[in-house]
């Protein structure tokens, strides 16, 4: 019987009860239930003690079952004690009042670049269809082209085909997916985002030019007036976020590529959560207002511009400043 063995046995006998109770305590902490303060304090006290025991076990018996047990207890104590406090609704409020505006400020140059690209592509699409009318087939299906040539818009009878509620869900789901694709394809050093934004711009320009050639461009504008401002803005912002991801990968600065990418994603996601919630509203407008002939252009513009003003209010941070000014604690 060596002296080391005796010391190990003494240590084991002194500590085994603590290891058992630490394991039992973990179950209540891990499940996130409300636990008495005494239990939490016990866990805080046990954490460094288990760390010391684990260090001893790793040195004495690195592959033994006791070491694995202590690894598990230590890992779960660490996870429970260092879990950030749950503040979901406060985070959501902060997102709409501060974080989105901060992200917009940081991404202002990418937004300018993407909006410029989008506008240039709209102009290019319009020019292409005006100069070469047969190119309309690049942007519209044969059925759409035949309809426009008869002076009908594909949006004219939408409500006879789908109820507004169904139409809204289809539209905002599709728009959200397009925005997320524009964002996530930024991982291809921004080239994927460039492609999505350019194609969207060319399509919009081409289709507007094609409908204008047949004298129904105004009707298409009337259809888009209520939802288009916010919808197109969100797609541009998604593109700007995607571009920032590509930029983080191409020019990470002092950070590693992975760290720069994570930072860009975290910033972009905050902005996108706010933007996508506005996209849901735009989808509802596109399902209920845009295809409904009872809304005249003036009403559509009033609705569309009011919604766009609310969108700008949130993204400019004015909502946050208003909330701060009204908060008696500030």
């Amino acid at each position: 019987m060596s002296g080391d063995n005796v010391a190990a046995a003494k240590w084991f006998e002194q500590r085994v009860a603590e290891w058992r109770s630490a394991g039992a305590r973990l179950r209540s902490l891990e499940h996130g239930k409300s636990v008495p303060p005494a239990t939490v304090l016990e866990a805080v006290r046990a954490y460094p003690e288990i760390a010391r025991d684990l260090a001893i076990a790793r040195r004495g018996a690195p592959n033994a079952a006791l070491t694995k047990y202590l690894e598990g207890v230590y890992r779960e104590l660490h996870r429970s004690l260092f879990r950030p406090p749950a503040a979901f609704w406060r985070s959501v409020l902060r997102l709409f009042t501060r974080d989105a505006a901060a992200a917009i400020r940081e991404l202002r140059w990418q937004i300018v670049a993407v909006v410029s690209l989008f506008v240039v592509c709209i102009g290019a699409g319009a020019w292409l269809v005006n100069a070469y009318p047969e190119l309309a087939s690049l942007f519209a299906s044969e059925q759409m082209i035949e309809g426009v040539q008869r002076g009908e818009l594909w949006t004219d009878n939408l409500l006879n085909v789908f109820p507004s509620s169904l139409l809204s869900v289809q539209i905002f789901t599709n728009n959200i997916v397009v925005s997320l694709i524009a964002l996530s394809l930024g991982v291809l050093y921004g080239l994927g985002t460039f492609y999505i934004i350019a194609m969207n711009g060319l399509s919009i320009g081409g289709i507007f030019a094609f409908t204008a050639q047949h004298g129904i461009g105004g009707r298409l504008f009337q259809f888009t007036a209520a939802h288009g401002f916010v919808e197109l803005s969100v797609i541009c912002i998604a593109g700007a976020v995607g571009m920032s991801l590509g930029e983080a990968l191409a020019r990470p600065g002092e950070l590693t590529r992975a760290a720069a990418f994570q930072r860009a994603v975290a910033r972009g996601l905050k902005l996108m959560v706010v933007c996508l919630s506005f996209l849901v509203g735009a989808g509802l407008l596109e399902g209920f207002v845009s295809p409904n002939a009872r809304f005249p252009l003036a009403a559509r513009l009033a609705i569309g511009l009011s919604y766009f003003a609310l969108f700008l209010l949130v993204l400019s941070g004015a909502l946050g400043r208003f909330a701060t000014a009204r908060d008696p604690r500030t």
């Binding site: 684990l54 230590y74 169904l166 991982v187």
Partner: protein, 235 residues
Amino acid sequence: MESIVRIPSVTGVDVELKIAGPGGRSYAFVIDWHIRFLAAAAWFIVGTIAYAGGLRVLPADQVQAGYTFVVAAPSIVIYFLYHPVLEVLLRGQTPGKRMAGVRLVALADGGAPGIGALLVRNVFRLVDSLPSLYAVGLATTMLTKNAVRIGDIAAGTVLVYDEPPSSALLDRLSGRAVSQLGLEQAQLVRELLDRWPQLGIDARRKLAADLLARVGIPAPDGDAALRAKLEELAG
């Protein structure tokens, strides 16, 4: 060789997490895929039977908002939002991950990832699933140090093995055995005794003899005698 990610702690003793490779990750995914597919299909089939009075394909002109919102849309939601919703609710786990014994953790602190990180890793499924069958994601897990897909890189998360600590060993390990054999040998003796019935006679005799030789005790003859000697040492 298993990969370990080490999370620094205020105690100076790192938290060590075993990284789940492409195998563990795929195993969890396949289980989850079956669960979400079956759940979505079950909702769709039961809903269609209840709505249409039988399992039949409804013509387009009979598909109304009620059917879409109560039958079709929830099935799609179950299928596509299974991962983000369950990962948020179960703090980095899903039923498949639980069955596979893996869990998502934040690479920064080893804790459960936040809602934002979980949403990010799910948004990037759009890229990881390209061109099909998660080819990009699978290739990335094979090429990256921590076996992560692009969504995990973006979110700063990593998939690790997560076996809950079992205190069964503590109840069967005695201080007397540790003082006689040392910490490591005492546990090996205990583990050998636990596995004794599952091992073949030749294998357990050899293991027992080797173990006794390491602590300088001559091995008795016979299977029962060997076991009795080990029981005596284990206390």
